[in-house]
Amino acid sequence: MTKLNDQLTIDLTHDINSTLSALMSALELMNEEWRTNPELVDKILPLTSQKFDLLKEQLILYRNPKN
Protein backbone atom coordinates (compact mmCIF):
# COMPACT_ATOMS: atom_id res chain seq x y z
CA MET A 1 0.00 0.00 0.00
CA THR A 2 2.85 2.38 0.92
CA LYS A 3 4.59 1.55 -2.37
CA LEU A 4 1.37 2.28 -4.21
CA ASN A 5 1.06 5.61 -2.43
CA ASP A 6 4.67 6.47 -3.21
CA GLN A 7 4.15 5.74 -6.89
CA LEU A 8 0.91 7.74 -6.87
CA THR A 9 2.74 10.70 -5.33
CA ILE A 10 5.52 10.50 -7.94
CA ASP A 11 3.02 10.33 -10.79
CA LEU A 12 0.87 13.11 -9.36
CA THR A 13 3.90 15.34 -8.84
CA HIS A 14 4.85 14.77 -12.46
CA ASP A 15 1.32 15.53 -13.64
CA ILE A 16 1.01 18.69 -11.54
CA ASN A 17 4.41 19.93 -12.79
CA SER A 18 3.34 19.23 -16.37
CA THR A 19 0.03 21.03 -15.95
CA LEU A 20 1.70 24.04 -14.33
CA SER A 21 4.23 24.09 -17.13
CA ALA A 22 1.52 24.10 -19.79
CA LEU A 23 -0.28 26.90 -17.94
CA MET A 24 2.87 28.98 -17.50
CA SER A 25 3.81 28.67 -21.17
CA ALA A 26 0.29 29.54 -22.25
CA LEU A 27 -0.03 32.52 -19.92
CA GLU A 28 3.40 33.88 -20.86
CA LEU A 29 2.47 33.58 -24.51
CA MET A 30 -0.93 35.22 -24.06
CA ASN A 31 0.72 38.03 -22.09
CA GLU A 32 2.95 38.74 -25.09
CA GLU A 33 0.47 38.10 -27.89
CA TRP A 34 -3.02 39.11 -26.77
CA ARG A 35 -2.87 42.44 -28.60
CA THR A 36 -1.17 41.31 -31.77
CA ASN A 37 -2.29 37.71 -32.24
CA PRO A 38 -5.94 37.32 -31.16
CA GLU A 39 -6.36 34.10 -33.21
CA LEU A 40 -3.69 32.38 -31.18
CA VAL A 41 -5.24 33.56 -27.92
CA ASP A 42 -8.69 32.35 -29.05
CA LYS A 43 -7.16 28.96 -29.74
CA ILE A 44 -5.33 28.49 -26.46
CA LEU A 45 -7.64 30.27 -24.02
CA PRO A 46 -10.25 27.46 -23.79
CA LEU A 47 -7.45 24.90 -23.41
CA THR A 48 -5.93 27.02 -20.66
CA SER A 49 -9.25 27.18 -18.89
CA GLN A 50 -9.58 23.36 -19.05
CA LYS A 51 -6.04 23.06 -17.65
CA PHE A 52 -6.96 25.17 -14.64
CA ASP A 53 -9.84 22.78 -13.91
CA LEU A 54 -7.47 19.84 -14.29
CA LEU A 55 -4.95 21.46 -11.92
CA LYS A 56 -7.70 21.94 -9.34
CA GLU A 57 -8.56 18.23 -9.50
CA GLN A 58 -4.91 17.18 -9.36
CA LEU A 59 -4.27 19.33 -6.31
CA ILE A 60 -7.32 17.91 -4.51
CA LEU A 61 -6.11 14.40 -5.23
CA TYR A 62 -2.57 15.24 -4.13
CA ARG A 63 -3.79 16.59 -0.81
CA ASN A 64 -6.18 13.69 -0.20
CA PRO A 65 -4.57 10.65 -1.80
CA LYS A 66 -6.94 8.21 -0.04
CA ASN A 67 -10.06 9.66 -1.73
Binding site: A22, A26, L29, L47
Partner: protein, 447 residues
Protein backbone atom coordinates in the same frame (compact mmCIF):
# COMPACT_ATOMS: atom_id res chain seq x y z
CA UNK B 1 21.36 36.02 -42.80
CA UNK B 2 21.24 33.61 -39.89
CA UNK B 3 19.99 30.17 -40.93
CA UNK B 4 16.87 29.03 -39.11
CA UNK B 5 17.23 26.07 -36.76
CA UNK B 6 15.26 22.96 -37.71
CA UNK B 7 13.40 21.91 -34.57
CA UNK B 8 11.42 18.80 -33.71
CA UNK B 9 8.95 19.33 -30.87
CA UNK B 10 7.78 16.08 -29.23
CA UNK B 11 4.94 16.77 -26.79
CA UNK B 12 1.64 14.99 -26.29
CA UNK B 13 -0.13 17.80 -24.44
CA UNK B 14 -1.92 20.08 -26.91
CA UNK B 15 -1.69 23.30 -24.89
CA UNK B 16 2.02 22.84 -24.14
CA UNK B 17 2.68 22.00 -27.77
CA UNK B 18 0.83 25.03 -29.13
CA UNK B 19 2.53 27.44 -26.71
CA UNK B 20 6.00 26.02 -27.22
CA UNK B 21 5.64 25.82 -30.98
CA UNK B 22 4.61 29.45 -31.13
CA UNK B 23 7.66 30.45 -29.07
CA UNK B 24 10.12 28.24 -30.96
CA UNK B 25 8.93 29.51 -34.34
CA UNK B 26 10.70 32.80 -33.67
CA UNK B 27 14.07 31.02 -33.91
CA UNK B 28 13.42 28.04 -36.12
CA UNK B 29 11.23 25.90 -38.31
CA UNK B 30 9.21 23.63 -36.06
CA UNK B 31 7.77 20.20 -36.79
CA UNK B 32 5.52 18.59 -34.19
CA UNK B 33 5.16 15.02 -32.98
CA UNK B 34 2.59 13.89 -30.42
CA UNK B 35 4.11 10.51 -29.63
CA UNK B 36 7.47 8.74 -29.56
CA UNK B 37 6.48 6.78 -32.65
CA UNK B 38 5.59 9.96 -34.55
CA UNK B 39 8.92 11.43 -33.50
CA UNK B 40 10.87 8.40 -34.72
CA UNK B 41 9.02 8.58 -38.06
CA UNK B 42 9.75 12.32 -38.35
CA UNK B 43 13.45 11.64 -37.73
CA UNK B 44 13.48 9.15 -40.60
CA UNK B 45 11.92 11.57 -43.06
CA UNK B 46 13.56 14.91 -42.19
CA UNK B 47 16.78 16.42 -40.83
CA UNK B 48 16.78 18.38 -37.58
CA UNK B 49 19.28 20.44 -35.60
CA UNK B 50 17.53 20.41 -32.28
CA UNK B 51 14.69 18.56 -30.53
CA UNK B 52 12.55 19.30 -27.48
CA UNK B 53 11.23 16.06 -26.02
CA UNK B 54 8.66 15.40 -23.32
CA UNK B 55 9.50 12.13 -21.60
CA UNK B 56 6.00 10.85 -20.87
CA UNK B 57 4.17 10.42 -24.12
CA UNK B 58 1.90 7.56 -25.24
CA UNK B 59 3.38 5.56 -22.39
CA UNK B 60 5.49 6.46 -19.35
CA UNK B 61 9.03 7.46 -20.31
CA UNK B 62 8.44 6.67 -23.99
CA UNK B 63 10.49 9.80 -24.76
CA UNK B 64 13.67 7.97 -23.72
CA UNK B 65 13.47 5.97 -26.97
CA UNK B 66 13.46 9.24 -28.90
CA UNK B 67 16.60 10.41 -27.06
CA UNK B 68 18.51 7.37 -28.29
CA UNK B 69 17.51 8.07 -31.87
CA UNK B 70 18.45 11.74 -31.52
CA UNK B 71 21.87 10.83 -30.19
CA UNK B 72 22.53 8.47 -33.08
CA UNK B 73 21.82 11.37 -35.45
CA UNK B 74 23.85 13.88 -33.37
CA UNK B 75 20.82 16.10 -32.87
CA UNK B 76 20.94 18.46 -29.88
CA UNK B 77 18.20 17.28 -27.51
CA UNK B 78 16.41 19.07 -24.70
CA UNK B 79 14.21 17.08 -22.34
CA UNK B 80 11.11 18.74 -20.93
CA UNK B 81 9.71 16.77 -18.05
CA UNK B 82 7.76 17.06 -14.84
CA UNK B 83 9.75 14.17 -13.37
CA UNK B 84 12.00 15.16 -10.51
CA UNK B 85 13.57 11.76 -9.90
CA UNK B 86 17.39 11.82 -10.19
CA UNK B 87 17.40 8.32 -11.67
CA UNK B 88 15.25 9.49 -14.59
CA UNK B 89 17.40 12.60 -15.14
CA UNK B 90 20.54 10.45 -15.09
CA UNK B 91 19.03 7.99 -17.57
CA UNK B 92 18.08 10.86 -19.90
CA UNK B 93 21.64 12.20 -19.86
CA UNK B 94 23.03 8.70 -20.29
CA UNK B 95 20.92 8.29 -23.41
CA UNK B 96 22.36 11.48 -24.84
CA UNK B 97 20.20 14.40 -23.83
CA UNK B 98 22.07 17.71 -23.81
CA UNK B 99 19.81 19.69 -21.46
CA UNK B 100 17.11 18.59 -19.02
CA UNK B 101 14.51 21.23 -18.18
CA UNK B 102 12.20 20.34 -15.36
CA UNK B 103 8.58 21.41 -15.67
CA UNK B 104 7.27 23.95 -14.95
CA UNK B 105 9.80 26.15 -16.73
CA UNK B 106 9.66 29.73 -17.94
CA UNK B 107 10.36 31.09 -21.41
CA UNK B 108 13.76 32.26 -20.11
CA UNK B 109 14.86 28.64 -19.65
CA UNK B 110 13.83 27.82 -23.22
CA UNK B 111 15.62 30.88 -24.56
CA UNK B 112 18.75 30.00 -22.55
CA UNK B 113 19.04 26.48 -24.00
CA UNK B 114 18.49 27.80 -27.53
CA UNK B 115 21.18 30.42 -27.02
CA UNK B 116 23.50 27.78 -25.63
CA UNK B 117 22.88 25.60 -28.68
CA UNK B 118 23.43 28.51 -31.09
CA UNK B 119 26.74 29.35 -29.46
CA UNK B 120 27.92 25.75 -29.14
CA UNK B 121 28.73 25.83 -32.85
CA UNK B 122 31.03 28.84 -32.54
CA UNK B 123 34.73 28.24 -31.92
CA UNK B 124 34.82 30.61 -28.98
CA UNK B 125 38.06 29.34 -27.50
CA UNK B 126 39.76 29.80 -30.86
CA UNK B 127 38.45 33.36 -31.06
CA UNK B 128 39.62 34.16 -27.53
CA UNK B 129 43.07 32.67 -28.18
CA UNK B 130 43.33 34.69 -31.33
CA UNK B 131 42.21 37.85 -29.56
CA UNK B 132 44.75 37.48 -26.75
CA UNK B 133 47.46 36.18 -29.12
CA UNK B 134 48.40 33.36 -26.82
CA UNK B 135 49.71 29.84 -27.06
CA UNK B 136 50.37 29.63 -23.34
CA UNK B 137 48.71 26.52 -21.89
CA UNK B 138 47.79 28.07 -18.55
CA UNK B 139 46.28 31.14 -20.16
CA UNK B 140 44.40 28.92 -22.59
CA UNK B 141 42.84 27.07 -19.65
CA UNK B 142 41.81 30.45 -18.18
CA UNK B 143 40.23 31.30 -21.52
CA UNK B 144 38.29 28.04 -21.34
CA UNK B 145 36.70 29.44 -18.18
CA UNK B 146 35.62 32.49 -20.15
CA UNK B 147 34.34 30.27 -22.94
CA UNK B 148 31.99 28.64 -20.43
CA UNK B 149 31.02 31.96 -18.89
CA UNK B 150 30.43 34.19 -21.90
CA UNK B 151 26.82 33.37 -22.68
CA UNK B 152 25.58 32.86 -19.14
CA UNK B 153 24.59 35.52 -16.70
CA UNK B 154 27.07 34.88 -13.90
CA UNK B 155 29.53 37.56 -12.85
CA UNK B 156 33.08 37.42 -14.17
CA UNK B 157 36.06 38.58 -12.12
CA UNK B 158 39.21 39.40 -14.09
CA UNK B 159 42.44 39.63 -12.12
CA UNK B 160 46.01 40.29 -13.15
CA UNK B 161 48.61 43.00 -13.19
CA UNK B 162 48.03 46.31 -14.86
CA UNK B 163 48.38 46.08 -18.65
CA UNK B 164 47.62 42.35 -18.95
CA UNK B 165 44.46 42.89 -20.99
CA UNK B 166 41.59 42.90 -18.48
CA UNK B 167 39.74 45.81 -20.08
CA UNK B 168 40.43 44.43 -23.53
CA UNK B 169 38.92 41.10 -22.49
CA UNK B 170 35.83 42.71 -20.94
CA UNK B 171 35.25 44.61 -24.18
CA UNK B 172 35.83 41.46 -26.19
CA UNK B 173 33.23 39.56 -24.14
CA UNK B 174 30.83 42.38 -24.92
CA UNK B 175 31.63 42.01 -28.62
CA UNK B 176 30.90 38.28 -28.40
CA UNK B 177 27.54 38.65 -26.67
CA UNK B 178 26.44 41.41 -29.03
CA UNK B 179 27.61 44.96 -29.50
CA UNK B 180 24.02 46.18 -29.69
CA UNK B 181 23.76 45.64 -25.93
CA UNK B 182 25.03 48.35 -23.57
CA UNK B 183 28.59 48.21 -22.26
CA UNK B 184 29.05 50.52 -19.29
CA UNK B 185 32.63 50.93 -18.12
CA UNK B 186 33.43 52.54 -14.78
CA UNK B 187 36.92 52.85 -13.34
CA UNK B 188 36.11 52.95 -9.63
CA UNK B 189 39.45 54.60 -8.86
CA UNK B 190 38.83 57.55 -11.13
CA UNK B 191 35.77 58.91 -9.39
CA UNK B 192 35.76 60.47 -5.97
CA UNK B 193 34.13 58.44 -3.23
CA UNK B 194 31.20 60.83 -2.72
CA UNK B 195 30.29 60.81 -6.42
CA UNK B 196 30.59 57.05 -6.88
CA UNK B 197 27.24 56.24 -5.31
CA UNK B 198 25.25 58.60 -7.50
CA UNK B 199 27.23 57.51 -10.58
CA UNK B 200 26.35 53.88 -9.93
CA UNK B 201 22.83 54.16 -8.55
CA UNK B 202 21.71 57.45 -10.12
CA UNK B 203 20.05 60.29 -8.23
CA UNK B 204 16.89 62.32 -7.95
CA UNK B 205 16.84 66.04 -8.61
CA UNK B 206 17.76 67.85 -5.38
CA UNK B 207 19.09 64.71 -3.69
CA UNK B 208 22.27 66.62 -2.82
CA UNK B 209 23.92 69.95 -3.56
CA UNK B 210 24.62 70.02 -7.26
CA UNK B 211 21.97 67.45 -8.20
CA UNK B 212 20.17 69.91 -10.46
CA UNK B 213 18.36 67.23 -12.40
CA UNK B 214 17.44 63.57 -12.08
CA UNK B 215 20.16 61.32 -13.48
CA UNK B 216 20.08 57.62 -14.32
CA UNK B 217 22.79 55.54 -12.69
CA UNK B 218 25.26 53.38 -14.60
CA UNK B 219 23.61 50.23 -13.23
CA UNK B 220 20.33 51.26 -14.83
CA UNK B 221 22.04 52.20 -18.08
CA UNK B 222 23.72 48.78 -18.17
CA UNK B 223 20.38 46.94 -18.14
CA UNK B 224 20.38 44.13 -20.69
CA UNK B 225 24.13 44.44 -21.16
CA UNK B 226 27.39 44.57 -19.24
CA UNK B 227 28.45 46.69 -16.30
CA UNK B 228 32.26 46.64 -16.21
CA UNK B 229 33.69 47.82 -12.89
CA UNK B 230 37.41 48.31 -13.24
CA UNK B 231 39.70 48.68 -10.20
CA UNK B 232 36.94 47.18 -8.04
CA UNK B 233 39.34 46.91 -5.08
CA UNK B 234 39.14 50.68 -4.63
CA UNK B 235 35.37 50.64 -4.12
CA UNK B 236 34.60 51.90 -0.60
CA UNK B 237 33.33 49.25 1.82
CA UNK B 238 29.97 50.97 2.41
CA UNK B 239 29.31 51.01 -1.33
CA UNK B 240 30.35 47.35 -1.62
CA UNK B 241 27.49 46.50 0.75
CA UNK B 242 24.98 48.52 -1.30
CA UNK B 243 26.22 47.09 -4.58
CA UNK B 244 26.09 43.55 -3.21
CA UNK B 245 22.40 43.98 -2.42
CA UNK B 246 21.72 45.54 -5.82
CA UNK B 247 23.49 42.69 -7.65
CA UNK B 248 21.63 40.04 -5.66
CA UNK B 249 18.20 41.58 -5.97
CA UNK B 250 18.67 43.31 -9.36
CA UNK B 251 16.82 46.18 -7.72
CA UNK B 252 18.12 49.34 -6.08
CA UNK B 253 17.14 52.87 -5.04
CA UNK B 254 18.74 55.90 -6.72
CA UNK B 255 20.12 58.45 -4.26
CA UNK B 256 17.24 60.50 -2.83
CA UNK B 257 14.56 58.33 -4.44
CA UNK B 258 11.88 56.23 -2.80
CA UNK B 259 11.10 54.47 -6.06
CA UNK B 260 13.11 51.33 -6.76
CA UNK B 261 14.71 50.66 -10.13
CA UNK B 262 15.13 47.19 -11.60
CA UNK B 263 18.07 46.45 -13.87
CA UNK B 264 19.24 43.13 -15.25
CA UNK B 265 22.91 43.58 -16.05
CA UNK B 266 25.89 41.27 -16.35
CA UNK B 267 28.66 42.25 -13.98
CA UNK B 268 32.29 42.01 -15.03
CA UNK B 269 34.78 43.35 -12.52
CA UNK B 270 38.53 43.68 -12.68
CA UNK B 271 41.36 44.33 -10.30
CA UNK B 272 45.14 44.23 -10.17
CA UNK B 273 45.07 43.91 -6.38
CA UNK B 274 44.94 40.83 -4.16
CA UNK B 275 41.37 40.94 -2.88
CA UNK B 276 41.97 38.22 -0.27
CA UNK B 277 44.61 40.33 1.46
CA UNK B 278 42.31 43.35 1.23
CA UNK B 279 39.68 41.29 3.06
CA UNK B 280 42.23 40.51 5.79
CA UNK B 281 43.01 44.21 6.05
CA UNK B 282 39.29 44.96 6.42
CA UNK B 283 39.23 46.96 3.19
CA UNK B 284 37.10 44.54 1.20
CA UNK B 285 33.95 42.62 2.11
CA UNK B 286 34.21 38.86 1.90
CA UNK B 287 30.54 38.46 0.90
CA UNK B 288 31.06 40.99 -1.87
CA UNK B 289 34.01 39.00 -3.23
CA UNK B 290 31.89 35.82 -3.26
CA UNK B 291 29.30 37.70 -5.29
CA UNK B 292 31.89 38.93 -7.81
CA UNK B 293 33.43 35.50 -8.15
CA UNK B 294 31.11 33.76 -10.60
CA UNK B 295 33.89 32.90 -13.00
CA UNK B 296 37.42 33.92 -12.06
CA UNK B 297 39.97 34.56 -14.73
CA UNK B 298 43.59 35.33 -13.93
CA UNK B 299 45.47 36.99 -16.76
CA UNK B 300 49.15 36.18 -16.50
CA UNK B 301 51.75 38.89 -16.68
CA UNK B 302 53.85 39.07 -19.82
CA UNK B 303 56.97 37.82 -18.00
CA UNK B 304 54.96 34.69 -17.09
CA UNK B 305 54.07 34.03 -20.74
CA UNK B 306 57.31 34.89 -22.48
CA UNK B 307 56.58 32.47 -25.33
CA UNK B 308 53.85 34.89 -26.48
CA UNK B 309 56.12 37.93 -26.69
CA UNK B 310 57.24 37.26 -30.27
CA UNK B 311 53.63 36.89 -31.44
CA UNK B 312 52.64 40.09 -29.70
CA UNK B 313 55.61 41.96 -31.23
CA UNK B 314 54.57 40.79 -34.70
CA UNK B 315 50.98 41.82 -34.03
CA UNK B 316 51.91 45.35 -32.93
CA UNK B 317 54.44 45.71 -35.78
CA UNK B 318 51.70 44.98 -38.33
CA UNK B 319 49.23 47.35 -36.72
CA UNK B 320 50.66 50.35 -38.52
CA UNK B 321 51.32 50.92 -42.20
CA UNK B 322 54.85 52.25 -41.45
CA UNK B 323 56.52 48.90 -41.12
CA UNK B 324 59.81 48.39 -39.28
CA UNK B 325 61.93 45.28 -38.83
CA UNK B 326 63.43 44.02 -35.58
CA UNK B 327 66.74 42.20 -35.74
CA UNK B 328 67.05 38.80 -34.09
CA UNK B 329 69.10 40.30 -31.23
CA UNK B 330 66.59 43.11 -30.76
CA UNK B 331 63.82 40.53 -30.41
CA UNK B 332 65.95 38.53 -27.97
CA UNK B 333 66.51 41.65 -25.87
CA UNK B 334 62.78 42.25 -25.76
CA UNK B 335 62.11 38.62 -24.88
CA UNK B 336 64.45 38.78 -21.88
CA UNK B 337 63.02 42.04 -20.49
CA UNK B 338 60.64 41.76 -17.52
CA UNK B 339 57.86 44.02 -18.90
CA UNK B 340 56.48 45.42 -15.64
CA UNK B 341 53.87 47.33 -17.64
CA UNK B 342 52.94 44.13 -19.51
CA UNK B 343 51.26 44.25 -22.94
CA UNK B 344 50.53 47.96 -22.65
CA UNK B 345 54.25 48.64 -22.18
CA UNK B 346 55.23 46.36 -25.06
CA UNK B 347 52.81 48.16 -27.35
CA UNK B 348 54.20 51.54 -26.28
CA UNK B 349 57.80 50.43 -26.88
CA UNK B 350 56.94 49.27 -30.42
CA UNK B 351 55.22 52.58 -31.09
CA UNK B 352 58.29 54.52 -29.92
CA UNK B 353 60.57 52.33 -32.06
CA UNK B 354 58.31 52.88 -35.05
CA UNK B 355 58.40 56.64 -34.61
CA UNK B 356 62.21 56.68 -34.82
CA UNK B 357 64.01 57.31 -38.14
CA UNK B 358 65.25 53.76 -38.36
CA UNK B 359 63.69 51.01 -40.40
CA UNK B 360 65.81 48.20 -39.02
CA UNK B 361 65.82 48.11 -35.22
CA UNK B 362 68.96 46.74 -33.58
CA UNK B 363 69.55 45.36 -30.11
CA UNK B 364 71.18 48.64 -28.99
CA UNK B 365 68.04 50.63 -29.95
CA UNK B 366 65.88 48.33 -27.87
CA UNK B 367 68.28 48.26 -24.95
CA UNK B 368 68.59 52.02 -24.74
CA UNK B 369 64.81 52.32 -24.74
CA UNK B 370 64.34 49.63 -22.10
CA UNK B 371 67.17 51.06 -19.98
CA UNK B 372 65.41 54.42 -20.11
CA UNK B 373 62.27 52.69 -18.95
CA UNK B 374 64.12 51.05 -16.08
CA UNK B 375 65.91 54.22 -15.00
CA UNK B 376 62.82 56.37 -15.26
CA UNK B 377 60.73 53.98 -13.23
CA UNK B 378 63.11 52.64 -10.65
CA UNK B 379 66.25 54.74 -10.31
CA UNK B 380 66.31 58.43 -9.60
CA UNK B 381 69.57 60.17 -10.26
CA UNK B 382 71.14 60.24 -6.86
CA UNK B 383 74.08 61.74 -5.10
CA UNK B 384 75.75 59.10 -2.98
CA UNK B 385 77.53 61.67 -0.79
CA UNK B 386 74.25 63.33 -0.01
CA UNK B 387 72.66 59.97 0.89
CA UNK B 388 75.55 59.16 3.18
CA UNK B 389 75.17 62.55 4.82
CA UNK B 390 71.45 62.24 5.62
CA UNK B 391 71.23 58.43 5.84
CA UNK B 392 69.37 55.99 3.56
CA UNK B 393 66.07 55.89 5.57
CA UNK B 394 65.75 59.67 5.44
CA UNK B 395 66.65 59.70 1.76
CA UNK B 396 64.06 57.01 0.92
CA UNK B 397 61.45 58.86 2.95
CA UNK B 398 62.23 62.02 0.99
CA UNK B 399 61.85 60.19 -2.32
CA UNK B 400 58.56 58.54 -1.45
CA UNK B 401 57.19 61.85 -0.25
CA UNK B 402 58.20 63.51 -3.51
CA UNK B 403 56.70 60.71 -5.61
CA UNK B 404 53.47 60.84 -3.65
CA UNK B 405 53.19 64.61 -3.92
CA UNK B 406 53.93 64.52 -7.64
CA UNK B 407 51.36 61.79 -8.31
CA UNK B 408 48.75 63.53 -6.17
CA UNK B 409 49.29 66.71 -8.19
CA UNK B 410 49.06 64.82 -11.47
CA UNK B 411 45.78 63.30 -10.27
CA UNK B 412 44.38 66.68 -9.14
CA UNK B 413 44.42 65.53 -5.54
CA UNK B 414 42.41 62.32 -6.14
CA UNK B 415 43.60 60.06 -3.34
CA UNK B 416 42.04 56.83 -4.57
CA UNK B 417 43.47 57.17 -8.07
CA UNK B 418 46.86 57.91 -6.52
CA UNK B 419 46.61 54.77 -4.38
CA UNK B 420 45.93 52.70 -7.45
CA UNK B 421 48.59 54.36 -9.62
CA UNK B 422 51.28 53.78 -7.02
CA UNK B 423 49.89 50.42 -5.84
CA UNK B 424 49.88 51.80 -2.31
CA UNK B 425 47.85 50.52 0.62
CA UNK B 426 45.80 52.97 2.65
CA UNK B 427 48.17 52.49 5.57
CA UNK B 428 51.28 53.32 3.54
CA UNK B 429 49.59 56.35 2.04
CA UNK B 430 48.68 57.81 5.40
CA UNK B 431 52.12 57.02 6.82
CA UNK B 432 53.76 59.02 4.02
CA UNK B 433 51.17 61.78 4.23
CA UNK B 434 51.82 62.08 7.95
CA UNK B 435 55.47 62.70 7.09
CA UNK B 436 54.47 65.31 4.53
CA UNK B 437 52.30 67.09 7.09
CA UNK B 438 54.91 66.79 9.82
CA UNK B 439 57.46 68.33 7.48
CA UNK B 440 54.98 71.03 6.59
CA UNK B 441 54.54 71.89 10.28
CA UNK B 442 58.29 71.87 10.88
CA UNK B 443 58.78 73.97 7.82
CA UNK B 444 56.21 76.47 9.06
CA UNK B 445 57.83 76.52 12.47
CA UNK B 446 61.22 77.03 10.95
CA UNK B 447 59.90 79.96 8.99
Amino acid sequence: MKQKIRILLVEDDLLSRLSLKSRLESVGMVNEAQSAQEALDALKSSDYDMAFVDLDLESQLAGLKVLEALKSKSIHSVVLSGREDDAVIEEAYRLGCNDYLSKPFSKDSIEAVIKKYQHSNVDLLGKLKEALLTNDDELKSQLKTIEQAVFGNHPILLTGESGTGKTFLAKYIHELIGVNRPFIHLNCAEISENLLESELFGHEKGAFTGAVKTKKGLMELASGGILFLDEIATLPVNLQKKLLKAIEEKTFYPVGSEKSVTSDFRLISATCEDLKSKIKAGEFREDFLYRLEGFNVYLKSLRERKSDIDNLINFFLKKNKRRIVLSKDARAAMASYSWPGNIRELQKVIEVLRSSDKGIIEESDVLSLLQNAISSTTLEEFNLDHIKAIGLPAYLEKIETQILEKTLNENQGKVRKTLVDLKLSNNSFYRIMTNVKAKGVNHDKAQ
